[in-house]
């Protein structure tokens, strides 16, 4: 039961991935695409934690932590490029 609910949660998060990816492909301006990428990285962190739970391996969380610490770097880099500070 509880496992099933977490599977459903992963499915719901995947729907979010699809929507944000659609914005990423469509997005009229660069800023829209960057917002979509930001959203996607955060959803990815949760997905990775769920994968760690499915596999019952605590070590997989290290990968999620790398994204948790570094994911904002890419967005800030694009933002700084856009405003002419890179």
């Amino acid at each position: 039961m509880a496992d099933l609910i977490i599977y459903i949660a992963a499915g719901v998060a995947l729907l979010g991935v699809v929507l944000a990816s659609a914005r990423m492909v469509k997005g009229p301006s660069v800023a829209d695409r960057t917002v979509a990428l930001d959203t996607l990285t955060v959803i990815t962190i949760s997905l990775m934690a769920m994968i760690a739970l499915f596999a019952e391996r605590v070590i997989y969380l290290d990968v999620a932590l790398v994204y948790g610490i570094l994911s904002f770097l890419g967005v800030i880099a694009v933002a700084r490029y856009l405003e002419g500070g890179l």
Binding site: A55, E56, R57, V58, I59, Y60
Partner: protein, 117 residues
């Protein structure tokens, strides 16, 4: 042939297609990076064993029966370094492009025809 292998092969095709058809040199390096990702995916998929777990023998994997549980660690070790090397080599290619740009002020590969041979 697993799904990930199909994806890896398709990414390699897409990458090489971009490498051949694009004129912009930075786009070509980007295509090469995508082809690299495809190759790495294929290598990891080759080492995967159905139902296997990561080759790290912590409390979740029994040390004695590990041989039955884990996936092949050798391709992982090879891909691991390949990714870091790949990014450094991409940087080297981009440095060449910056240098070329300073000579001719163009990113189009067709403008460098005189450098053939």
């Amino acid at each position: 042939m697993t799904l990930v292998m199909v994806l890896g092969a398709a990414l390699m095709l897409v990458g090489f297609w971009g490498l051949i058809t694009r004129q912009n040199m930075i786009k070509m390096v980007l295509s090469l990076a995508i082809a690299e990702t495809g190759l790495q995916l294929i290598m990891i998929a080759v080492g995967y064993i159905n139902g296997g777990t990561a080759p790290i023998l912590d409390s979740a994997v029994d040390k004695l029966s590990a041989v039955q549980q884990v996936v092949d660690p050798v391709p992982q070790a090879l891909v691991l370094t390949a990714i870091v090397i790949g990014v450094a080599v991409n940087a080297l290619m981009l440095a060449f492009i910056i240098r070329l740009y300073q000579k001719k002020h163009s990113l189009n590969i067709s403008d460098y025809k005189d450098m053939k041979w």
